[in-house]
Symmetry: C2
Subunit: 719 residues, 2 copies
């Protein structure tokens, strides 16, 4: 303790010393004046920053810099401030799709140019302070003494104000598909082992390593989110915690040789972001990460369309059918003539079955149908680092691409392609042009891509610079073909969908599929919107109505939500791509509740974050694009609650017909998930609606503006 | 020693024991009965083979098998013979280009199917015995207990008959660009350090590691060559020597993680080859490696043309001009607008300079002109594992692609593209389609590709399975565009040019460029045809007339050959792609000697290997395709010699006009390289021509069939 105190004392001394320099300390405030960022140099010339919000500490003094591989010297200390460039920016832009019609991008900026005297190298750190948080990045200018270099580690610190609370998943080079743990920082180490649940490919790196986007709650009530924006040609940033001092330090995802970044200036790092508010709803509402990304680089975006879709998928997940055409695991691309093989009789992606989905989706007014297991190779696709599993263009004999194209088009349904890469990125890149052209030729405007298992090139992991580069390559090339991408198992998003809005979805977290792999925690989806979703939309695939999974046993034999929570997710888990994930025959049992899925929009002019307590509940209202119709969704975690919704966001004087789909009084996700009540009535901006939400329950509500008052006939005010 | 003897004794015992099994020993003889291969199992069920030639030992009992990574057990011992399948094959095929019009493929084959009882796995070893040597390969059939596996090491032994002589270069994962050493096997270890001369990328692996194709001479006069054929999706085989027992064992080129092969049965290994003869000329003549490759897979080969070419290249190598357009190493693709940059005034690939080469090449009746440094990116292309250096489609501002296309076409010249990949294989694969299409659009039927420096994906080396896969991918894709490939720094060839004859050249050895980097040994090119060239043609780039390199000092300030040896190389270094590597202005000083380069053919109906002593001299006569004209070339190593050529390969009764270009009496590569004599006369099949060849000297001779006897007027018989 004495040692610790004396260190603190020394730090105080140094900080004081620094402040005497003319340019060595620089302050930046947010446009609303609530946030203050202070940049300074320590006595040995180490850059550091701190962040305060309304006189509360968000980030204590935290160092910045890089360890480099020889022959390049570290960019850690020995710096002097060469110049400081400030500006204010305020602009409003229109996303191609999103939660709101327009987005305001308003910040104060400070670019600090540092010079390291001993090596005669400049390093720029650019800070942008928004009302909702801080972004900073490193900029490497081409200069005689800083050409190509290799990063040993980025040393960006985020020093927390004591032993605060984190909503965390284990840091891992290969997967984000973990449960969240809510704990004090000091408890992370003790919980890590149980937190690391098995996955097809996983590589945790530290007993105190966690992933971003990371949600934190300070002991004085601040909500803090640490993440990154605009991850381009750079390794994914994880965080490693010094759990004595409660300091997170960036931990870049290494390549196969342990190297963490190959930099050829001119180049910039991604933005490191710290969102902050004393109201959790502001974290949901923040568009800072999108704002830190570059404007849209696709000129004609008319072909990019949000979609509500069904898919031949959950029936394979739940074991009703198979991805593969046969049961013979000895079949191989280029060797096997599938037309001569014996089908197993349980193949999901048959022409007839796909037509069944098309019929149902079309009747429900949906946009698309996804089909997995349509292409040859599934007999032996998984594991063992196989280089050349799928060709992405050859259907199984019982999947008639042309006929399905014709049929889908006749029903107004767009087909969604599936490209499981089996982690083999070279194989995918080699075949990508033909695969995308095949999609164009057969009426598939969007692709769900997957990266299950270990990555090739072998030894690389899912979040290294090499892979980060690959994922964006796929998105950019897809844009050349006017195709949208929904990449699963890729690196978690960082707002790149602003720049490339054809990136309409990602997985990058534990999605609905885990409900069939043992279940998601009831609080899971009350955390994701504060973490995973800050980088971009998630293809969470809600809409499971038949929540009993009879093929599983005990506490795993059911989806860990009520039916109505599945409805609420369409609002709380924002995505321009929303699946109705269950089987047609399951929806047919609950067509009254399915009406909500039919009605709910997937693109919005406005969003109101009505209630939010991470880990406990979220309620969001959204205004459907180009209409006066609102949809409201709410979900809970482990505990039931009753809430009163104020509809004061509605247009005063306007009347609406509202239909609410909510948990029954006896609803319970374990025993009675499908107990629900549907009530219909009219509402106005003065309405207050009382809603009961069961444990892991929720509700969905449609609020349709009335044009013809006759429609109100016989309806009562909804309460 | 006692220990050693007792081991031998044990081996003898075991071998005897084995021979009692019914199928445990199997003998295979070559069609002419001169070669005998014996397969057997040791007492512990280890497969082994031995090879004899005319009662001399070629390969002593040598084990075969694989070490595998867990969970798969090794495929080394515990085998029993399940079945033996024998057949005889005799067929003659016609190469698209080559040294002879047709090639006879004649062998006796034996496929031994082994079963490893403990693991219930089968392994097939297929042997093919030709008159000129042995080929064998491993075949992995898909089976329940042998699915995907990873090779720790292939354990194919080549046990030599004592401390014999090797013509070797150091084993290396990244380069073959080494001098040859001629030494006893026991001397390799002591010479290794001096043998490893520096290179841009190199990774030797063992003090007794050597590369194939390896030439050996037994102490009882046998010439032996160990190499491989049909290297497809498998790591390059190096050899590691046990220099106590003189046993070479295969040493596969590892990947970045040290793993040596990812196998997904059904699959076969490449062929391991042992050529043998008591006459070195038979090694030159052997077509065994081509015969072990699959027949041509390109249906229409009409677009594949041998070429004689010049190039804007040697002037950069010798420092007269530069590849780059500017001297600013800070320029970068995607960031730099070259039209705004200041040219350095020494750029080689200018439109005007290229036209100068086109004019000269066209006047000389050549086929093509290569241009290096035509595309942006050369300012900072080298080293540091840069991912994205070249785009392969953007010319420097002073290189007018369209105008050069027009001008070359008007002069009957085909342009040869240059693609330096800077080792970045992903970048090249991503841009390959556009790059090849650009070639098609601009009249470039062939590409010289390069892989200088370290490989990307980082940590991979030039000869790993990943890279081997890449090189063939490039060749196959080029074939889709009807383009020929001449790949430098790629893995050394293994006869794949039979299957893909658009692979018209490779470097994969120390070529002429090294004459400007310190010089090649005088004996270098007297060894290459016995080693490097057995796998396929080499773009050695002969034809340097101005052998004085004034920019270099001392013993390095000259090419280590006489001018006439440069002529001889056109015959002794077989290639369908032959460069006249020197500058037009240098040829203009020696237009009488240049006549031979103008005349010499690049494709042949027949070849006669007249004289050959590895390390000392080679003389070859070849019949130009579709004509009655012969060309003869000879070269020497360090020592001068006088030889008498018997022209008994000429058609009896036919008269020919012969022109010989030979070293002058005072020719010396160090002091008087351009002393030469040109003599012209008539010859017949009875002619004997006496030729003096200086140290590192040689000669070229054209022998043109006379159709009109008037042409003989005034000519004397050449002697």
């Amino acid at each position: 303790m004495r040692h610790y105190l004396s260190r603190l004392f020394l730090l105080a001394l140094l900080t004081t010393a620094c402040s005497f320099g003319t340019m060595a300390q620089q302050t930046l405030t947010s446009p609303d004046g609530q946030l203050t960022m202070t940049f300074s140099l320590t006595a040995d010339g180490t850059p550091q920053y701190k962040l305060d919000y309304k006189d509360k500490i968000v980030v204590k003094p935290s160092k910045l810099g890089f360890e480099l591989y020889a022959p390049d010297k570290d960019l850690l200390d020995g710096f002097a401030v060469k110049s400081v460039d400030r500006k204010t920016y305020d602009n409003t832009w229109t996303p191609v799709w999103g939660e709101t019609k327009t987005i305001r991008n308003h910040y104060n900026e400070m670019a600090v140019v540092l010079t390291q005297g001993a090596t005669n190298r400049d390093l720029t750190i650019r800070f942008r302070l928004f009302n909702d948080g801080l972004g900073f990045r490193y900029e490497f200018v081409r200069q005689p003494n800083l050409k190509e270099f290799v990063i040993k580690e980025e040393r960006s610190q985020f020093a927390m104000n004591g032993d605060i609370t984190a909503f965390w998943i284990p840091g891992d080079y290969d997967t984000q598909e973990y449960h969240y743990h809510i704990s004090k920082l000091s408890e992370i180490r003790g919980l890590m082992k149980e937190a690391i649940t098995p996955n097809a490919a996983q590589q945790p790196f530290s007993p105190t390593g966690v992933q971003t986007s990371l949600l934190l709650k300070s002991n004085d009530g601040l909500w803090i989110n640490i993440h990154e924006a605009a991850l381009v040609n750079y390794a994914c940033m994880h965080l490693n915690l010094d759990d004595k001092n409660f300091v997170f330090t960036s931990w870049l995802n290494p390549d196969v040789q342990g190297k963490k970044g190959y930099i050829v200036p001119p180049m910039t790092s991604p933005w490191r972001t710290v969102m902050v508010s004393d109201d959790a709803r502001d974290i949901l509402a923040s568009k800072m990460i999108l704002n830190l990304n570059e404007p849209c680089k696709i000129k004609d975006t008319s072909w990019i369309k949000p979609m509500k879709y069904m898919g031949v998928w959950w029936e394979m997940i739940t074991g009703k059918s198979t991805w593969s055409y046969t049961d013979d695991s000895g079949l191989k691309i280029g060797v096997t003539d599938y037309s001569k093989e014996k089908p197993n009789g349980r193949h999901g992606a048959t022409t007839a079955n796909v037509k069944r989905y098309i019929d149902f989706a079309s009747a429900a007014g949906m946009d698309g149908v996804l089909v997995e297991g349509w292409n040859i190779g599934w007999e032996d696709w998984f594991g063992h680092f196989k280089d050349n599993v799928f060709d992405f263009v050859t259907p199984y004999p019982d999947f008639d691409v042309k006929e399905i194209h014709r049929y889908a088009a006749s029903k107004g349904i767009k087909m969604i392609m599936h490209h499981e890469t089996s982690g083999s990125t070279r194989n995918y890149e080699r075949r990508m042009d033909k695969a995308y052209q095949f999609m164009v030729d057969n009426g598939y405007p969007a692709v769900k891509s997957g990266y299950v298992g270990h990555i090739l090139p072998r030894g690389e992991t899912h979040y290294s610079q090499w892979l980060v580069n690959h994922y964006l390559y796929a998105v950019k090339k897809a844009a050349e073909y006017k195709l949208c991408v929904n990449a699963h198992e890729a690196v978690r998003p960082t707002g790149l969908c602003r720049t490339y809005p054809n990136l309409i979805g990602n997985e990058s977290a534990r999605g609905t599929e885990y409900e069939a792999f043992g279940g998601n925690n009831p609080n899971h989806t009350t955390i994701l919107p504060f973490t995973r979703l800050k980088g971009g939309p998630m293809d969470y695939t809600p809409g499971i109505f038949n929540t009993k999974l009879t093929f599983l046993k005990g506490e795993h034999s059911y989806v860990h939500t009520t039916l109505c929570k599945q409805l609420g997710l369409y609002l709380t888990m924002y995505s321009p791509l929303q699946m109705a994930a269950d089987l047609p025959e399951n929806y047919e049992k609950y067509m009254d509740a399915f009406q909500f899925i039919k009605d709910v929009a997937v693109d919005w002019d406005d969003s109101k974050y009505l209630e939010a307590e991470p880990g406990q509940y979220i309620t969001i209202a959204r205004l459907a694009k180009g209409t006066q119709n609102w949809f409201v969704g709410g979900i809970t975690g482990d505990d039931a609650r009753t809430t009163t919704l104020k509809l004061d966001f509605l247009t005063p004087g306007q009347k609406y017909i509202a239909t609410i789909y909510k948990d029954g009084k006896d609803a319970d996700y374990r025993t009675k998930p499908d107990s629900y009540v549907i009530k219909k009535g009219y509402v106005t901006s003065k309405s207050k609606i009382k809603v009961y939400e069961a444990p892991s329950g929720g509700f969905g509500m449609s609020i349709m503006a009335v044009k013809d008052k006759a429609a109100l006939k016989g309806l009562h005010r909804l309460k």
